[in-house]
Structure formats: structure tokens, C-alpha cells
Amino acid sequence: MLSYIVKRVLAAIPVLFLVVLITFILVRIAPGGPFDEERSVPPQVLENLNKRYNLDLPVHEQFFSYVGNLLQGDFGPSFKYPNRSVTEIISTGAPVTIELGLYALIFAMILGCSAGVFAALRPNSWRDYSAMSTAMIGICVPSFVLGPLLVLIFGIYLGWLPVSGWGYSPGDKILPALTLGAAYAAYLARLSRGGMLEVLNQDYIRTARAKGLPEWQVVIKHGLRGGLTPVIAFLGPAAAGLLSGSFVVETIYQIPGIGRFFLQAAFNRDYTMILGTTIFFAFLIILFNLITDILLVWLNPKLRSEVFNQ
């Protein structure tokens, strides 16, 4: 087990390196530079700006000096926000985004999985249809629609919850978490229903039922373990998606998270910020995928020898 984790962590190093290399190349060949603005900058000023960020050096030298700094934990200064370092911006924004993502994930898990299991217990009943229809509405209504809608209803018409901000009042985290989590709740509902239906038809469940175990015990003890496999497999991508996709919600609710920077940096051609946030999200994605894989194996003991001894 431990050696497996160590192996995976070691495998993360080339992954991160490739991500840095490819992103570095992508941003450099993308048209438009960090200093292109509506008012074009006079050539001699541009030259000085380029010098300020070592953009006058050959590209490979820039890359190696960037990687060199990276190894010392220095992500460089932001092009767009010159008096803040990328490290600073990530370390202030990331906790907010992670907190938001966590709430959204918890919300999505609780709502999605219970709706899915609930529906799977009585397939093709009114319960099933109503739970699944609600879930589908969650998928149909993307966050850029749901967010403004929730704000209008709860923030403006009813005046129950704040329309924006983060950490100013206890209520201001509810709407963002709901908005971000809704689509994932719907996905999880679908996946867990499918997974549960699959499992509830398996022989060992029949055996358990035949043994006369109470239904809830059958479901929780035997059903969930197998039935939630697709859910667990989805959790890695979902967690990553929640974090990197939080920019819509962060923009709607004016939340000082890192998701806004992730998207804006691309539009600003803020080279160091694009790389910094990409590395940050890559790290999280690798982490979540690792956790997912471990969970998958943990849920399926037969796999253990297969995976861990590779």
C-alpha cells in the first residue's frame, strides 16, 4: 500500500513537468502578449517591460530559469499584478476556492447519492421519476443560469441571503455552494442510481436478501460498497472540476478565490500566473485521482493485489 502511494507520488513528478512544459509552450505560441492593450505600448517601453520579466531572453533560457525558480518554490511575479507574487495570490485564493469546493462537494454528495440510492430502491416508481427528474433539472441548469437565478430569488426578491461576498456574514457561503454543487449533485444522483441498480441485481445481494437481512442492512452493508464504485470513480474528476470550474461561481458571487485568476490569467496572457495556477490545479487533480484510485481499490478487495503489486 505504502509503496504504491510512493510510486504514484513519484509518477507525479514527470506529470507535473510535462504539464509545465506543455503549458509553457502553449502560452508562448498563443497570440497576443501580456502587454498588449487597447492603447498600444510604444516600442521602447515594450522593450523595457520585456526586460523586466526576462522576456528578452531566448525562450529555452526563460524556461530553464522558470523551472529553476520553481524548484525553489518561487512562481515568479504576476505580469498582471506586478506587486504580488504568484505564490502570494495562490496562497490567498486557494483556501477560499478549496473551502467553496468542499462545501459544494459535500452538498453534492449528500443530496446526489441519497437521491440516487433512494431512486434505485424502487426503480420505475414515482419516487424514482421525481428524484431523477429533479436531478436532471440540476444538469440542465448550468451554474451561469442557476447562480443569477438563486441570487435574484433569495438575494433580491426575498432578501434572505447576501448576493455576494465571502466570509462577511454567515449566510454568504450558502448560495455559492448550492450553485457550484447542483450540477454535480445531479451527476452523482444519476451515477449512484445506475451503480446501485447494477449491484442490487448481483447474486450476493440476492443471497443477502434471501438470508432475510433487513432491507436497509442489505443496502448499506452490501449495496453501497459496490454501487458507489462509479460514484467514487467520478469523485476525482468531480473534485478537480469543482475547483477549476469554480470561476463562474466566483465571478457571480464575487468570491476572492483562485478560480477567477485561473481563467483571467489566460485572457490576460499573464504567463507566470497561468503556469502557477495550472501547476496548482494539476497538483490537486493528481492528488484527487490518487485518492480516488486508493478508494476504488479499498472498496474492491479483489483488486488489491492486482493494483498494489504492479
Binding site: V145, Y187, E198, A233, I274
Partner: protein, 289 residues
Amino acid sequence: MSTDIKIQGNSLFSDALRRLKKNKLAMAGAAFLLVLTIISILTPWIAPYSYETQDLYLGATPPSAEHWLGTDVLGRDQLTRIMYGSRISLMVGVIATSVALLIGVLWGTIAGFAGGRVDSIMMRIVDVLYALPFSIFIILLTVVFGRSMLLLFLAIGAVEWLTMARIIRGQVLSIKSQEYVTAARAIGLPPWRIISRYLIPNALGPIIVYTTLTIPSVILLESFLSFLGLGIQPPQSSWGSLISYGVETMEEYPWLLIFPGLILSLTLFSLNFLGDGLRDALDPKASKD
């Protein structure tokens, strides 16, 4: 032995079709999708107005006898724009999802089945692609290749297959340890037979569910891509772009959000009912009941 399997396979298929036909919701979903497809093909001949002709003096009007679904801020007929939009959106949904499905299922199955080093290299490649900044990638695509629809499908498919691959791999991993697969291996069935005969059919449930979920998200993703300059250009319309414009005016002109939203939802519902029906019908174990 082999003829045996074939006969069983055929009866399974006709069995499945029979079961599907009995599922009223699934059939209703299929019917809706069929009608929608026919309408969208016939749109150029049956659309009540031109999708681009504006009436600036008219502006945005609620549904009326002349304009059944109202008009947008430039006075264009909403019904016509939704009809034309369905051509683009259905195409994007189907083609991009197929691309994602094809790559994702193959990749995930091979990785999960092969295991070991092949698996970990394939999945690390997925990790790398996951982590790359998508918007920069799209911006580059628009510049290097211009703005063809084909590119749009590929771009969306290229992103969506990643999640598909991970889910399928997880599924394959858990199926592969089941007795019947172990048995099949033991009798020396070639890997591709095991994959096509056992792994994919048994992973079909999640594949169908995820596919039906991917189609609407792809349709919505298209509007973000046209924001970045890839794909369709105004005055052309798509459901995604109609919805994203509709959001901006949802208080003033709610019909501009409600109707495109409704048609997208109905499509998704139909897809899901059909998908569930298919899943139930194809489920090899359900047949015993």
C-alpha cells in the same frame, strides 16, 4: 461454442429490443428525439422566419400570434432561432459526444484491462491533459486552424473523453476481477474478445448514463467556445448561445431564457429516459427476471 454464443447474442438483442419497446417512457423519449431531429433537418424549409432578419423597431416582444415564442432584443423570431439552433446543438451534442465516447471508452478499457505499467502511463497522460489550461488550448486552436465546425467537435471531444476514460477504467477494473472474466482469461480467450464480450457490455450502464449526461454539457460548452471565438458566429444561433444571452435578460425578457432552456431540458429528459430504457433492456442480468 462460437455458434452458441452468436445465437445467444442475437436473442439477447431482440430480447432487449422487445423490452425497450415495452418501456413507455423510453419510447416517448425516442419519439421526441426523432421529431426534434426531423424538425431540425427540415428547418430551412419550415422555419416561419429568417434567423437573421432583424426588426429593430419591434425589439423584444413576448410570445404572440405572429411570433409564437416571442422575439429577441433585435426583433428576431425566437422560434426560428431555436429551430436553427437545434441543428447546431444536436450536431455538436451527438458528434462531440461520440468522439469523446469513442476515445474515452477505448482508452479507459485498454488501460483498465492491461493494468500495470500500460495502465499507469495511460492514466498519467490523462492527468497531464486534464491539467492543461483549456481556454489557452482553445484560443490556440482558433488561431492555428481557423474556425471550422469540425474543429469545434474535436476540441470538445478532446476534453470530454478524459472523464469518460477515468470512469470506464474504474468500471473495468472492478469487472475484471469478477469470476467470469478470470474464467475467460483462464481458458485463453484473446484480450479483445474479453473486452468486447465481457468488459464493455458490463460497463454499459455507466457508459450510457455518462453519455446522456455529456450531451447537454457539451451543448452548453459550445457557447463558451464561441465566446472564445471558436465555432459558430452570430447571427447563427445555438441553444447554448441562446441560453447564455437569455440569462442576461432573464428579468426583463424571461421568454428568451425559458424557451431555449425548456427545449434543452426536454431533450435531456428524453435522452435520459431512452438511456435508462436501453440500460435496463441491455442488462444481461435483468433478463432473468
